[in-house]
Symmetry: C2
Subunit: 428 residues, 2 copies
């Protein structure tokens, strides 16, 4: 879901590469969309085009007429199927010019890495006439930026060619392209962005509750809601004619977000649930251990995704078998016999056991039925118990039911445990 008011400049994206039409997932589109939103700009169209001259030439020609700014990613490499330079030259009826200083740079780069430059790399020293080269610190292909004036009802028109690999594209885009887009299409426009991160709420109910903002965005406001891995991210951007006004708008937006979904906000500005949990553990000088059955490492994997998490995370047990539940975690065999391994009682003993075994101040446990098999009428697939032991004498167990595939149930169970832990840690 995205809602934007008054579109402003038309920015189009063309992604070049036959692999995008052969099954490879396009991640540039998402990255560029979110980067533009920070300026209050939005993509008006994206096209994926194979590595063929004729279709790429017509796609560039058509898009360049429609758009204020056209960004083309990929096809700047040295080999025969890298045809973006030639396609752009034909589409704009503008020659490619050999630039000796660029060629010298490319040769120097190869020298640095002590490899001989293949003859084909000479092609990378050609620029569209009038274009500026964009420095590539992570590869041999320079980017290109061309700004033409006068034809587009007085508005400048911009063409950008960027290399395909993300590690080369992203730094160039941030350093050279975003500031220029801002000057050309968002001049005198002051933008502020706010990313709010929610947990313990589904995308659709967050969407529903945030309708007060998104149903009819005020001029200059853009909203995007994205969900994944048990976390909902709400991106807002506001632009105005002064920095003060933009800040005021964001303050109002933040207030409305807090009113709508306040209890689910665990952070702002690009954090994750595991980082928020880690920060709280660190601040409260607590350590953590985990006992995972059905999730088998998803929870611990997320906790340790945060650099430095070994300061507060001790580790834990993947108690997939009943033997390990008893042997390493000290779950009583009679508990398993009487209530089953998927039960509140077992979850409680697992959390205590993890805490004890690791000498940690807090223990978390997850036990459930991930499916597709193993469900019964009383204990259906998706039933999950989450246990929490500590700090001190605290003990909690929650029963949940998650719908979806085996993978989804496991991801949601791990996310839910992170959320329960965050709630407990943030409350006092």
């Amino acid at each position: 879901m995205i809602r934007a008011s008054a579109p402003g400049a038309r920015v189009e994206l063309i992604c070049v590469g036959s692999e995008l039409l052969g099954g490879k997932i396009n991640t540039h589109q998402s990255y560029i969309s979110l980067a533009l939103a920070r300026l209050g700009l939005a993509l008006s169209r994206e096209s994926s085009i194979p590595d063929d001259l004729e279709p790429l030439e017509s796609a560039i020609a058509e898009a360049f007429v429609r758009a204020d700014a056209l960004i083309v990613c990929g096809g700047l490499g040295p080999t025969f199927d890298d045809i973006t330079r030639e396609a752009a030259a034909s589409a704009l009826v503008r020659p490619l010019v050999f630039r000796p200083e660029l060629f010298a740079q490319i040769k120097r780069r190869f020298k640095c890495f002590r490899t001989r430059m293949p003859a084909e790399n000479r092609r990378q020293a050609y620029l569209l006439r009038g274009a500026t080269a964009l420095r590539n610190d992570f590869g041999s292909a320079p980017g290109q930026m061309l700004v033409t004036r006068g034809t587009n009802m007085g508005k400048p028109r911009m063409l950008v060619l960027l290399p395909g690999p993300f590690a080369e594209l992203a730094p160039m885009f941030e350093r050279d392209v975003l500031p220029r887009l801002k000057r050309l299409y968002a001049r005198g426009v002051f933008s502020r962005a706010l990313s709010t991160h929610l947990a313990g709420i589904s995308e659709s109910s967050a969407d529903e509750r945030l309708k007060i903002l998104t149903r009819k965005p005020l001029p200059g406001e853009t909203f995007t809601i994205l969900a994944g891995r048990g976390q909902v991210d709400f991106h807002a951007a506001a632009s105005a004619s002064s920095a003060t006004l933009a800040a005021k708008k964001i303050t109002r937006i933040r207030r409305l977000i807090r009113r709508a979904v306040g209890e689910h906000i665990f952070g702002e500005g690009g954090t994750t649930l595991e980082a928020a949990v880690g920060a709280l553990l660190r601040r409260r000088k607590l350590t953590l251990a985990a006992a995972e059955s059905c999730t088998a490492g998803f929870f611990s994997g997320r906790i340790t995704a945060v650099p430095g998490s070994s300061d507060y995370f001790k580790g834990g047990v993947i108690s997939y078998s009943d033997g390990l539940k008893s042997g390493l975690l000290g779950v009583l065999p009679k508990t398993i016999k009487r209530h089953g391994a998927v039960s509140a009682q077992c979850a409680r003993e697992m959390a205590e056991g993890a805490r004890r075994a690791a000498g940690a101040s807090v223990g978390v446990s997850i036990t459930g039925i991930a499916g597709p098999g193993g469900g019964t009428k009383k204990k259906p697939v998706g039933l999950v118990y989450i246990g929490l032991a500590g700090p001190g004498k605290r003990q909690h167990v929650w029963e949940s039911r998650f719908l979806g595939s085996r993978q989804t149930v496991r991801e949601r169970a791990a996310a839910s445990a992170l959320y329960r832990l965050w709630l407990m840690l943030s409350q006092r």
Copy 2:
């Protein structure tokens, strides 16, 4: 990377939804590309268009002229911003017709779920004149398929409208659209597809070694190489004028693949490394336990992604702290003191310890430095030891160095452990 010879029919895809231009990742494009490849067809272009009537109308009109078949995904819902029906009608200058029998079906569906049908859902009962409704078993929006004849140099032209949610789109696409595409554009063409799955090899070296096939594909052959999570998937499709010829082509392709990368092939036809490992464990009646440090559950999470894995996976220990390494796995404190927790010696004792603690026949261990901090000159970030204990008296430790972010190092380390285990299990 994709290499296809002789493009055949032009199939275009339009994905409708402002969220795709606001940061949401487009996964339909990948799914549809791979499904088409099984018929020997390829997408010639994809466009993402926001939920706005005018741009969608022109995108459909342009694409319908260029393409033999045009697939449009999304925008068939009941609300005001679902405008694909109207855009298609304007683009093709073809009226929408109310179909009472469809309306009755939609009403019946709501009755089944015991909810009142909102008035807006009536819009979903309108079809393009001449179109066939495609049954939706998982939502209220029927799909639409229109085939026109005569204008496209005698070739039939096809327009398909599909609902946006993947769970609704995929079954409809497989059941109604693929067979029709085959009849219309691949009639008399017999296709065979072969997916080969590789591990222990990088995408670029697989690409290099498979050049014998991909550099100059024979007529009717398509190749795509995709990589992720330590696994490389090589998709091949061959079409010919008879089933026997297509099968012969695939036999030749399989032989060439085996010659080029044989030792890295762990399976065919859509399997994963964890499923291949699981099948071998099951066949050899072995059980498995894991001790994970830097990967903290990534290995166990993958092993248990396979339904029924509890038959052979006992669980293990996430030994993030030295205390757990000694306490639960029995690693000697003097081993850690003398060699460090990231060492071959520690990996060996961890693997043995996991096996012993879980009573399993095979133990796997992973210990390393995921970064970004914690590296030294002697033990740099990315250094990982993988240990294997059992079956019987076998013991192995491998030292590897993985490059990339913390996440990448952890994913590659887990994948590498899976690959080592697979190699050992498949050898005897």
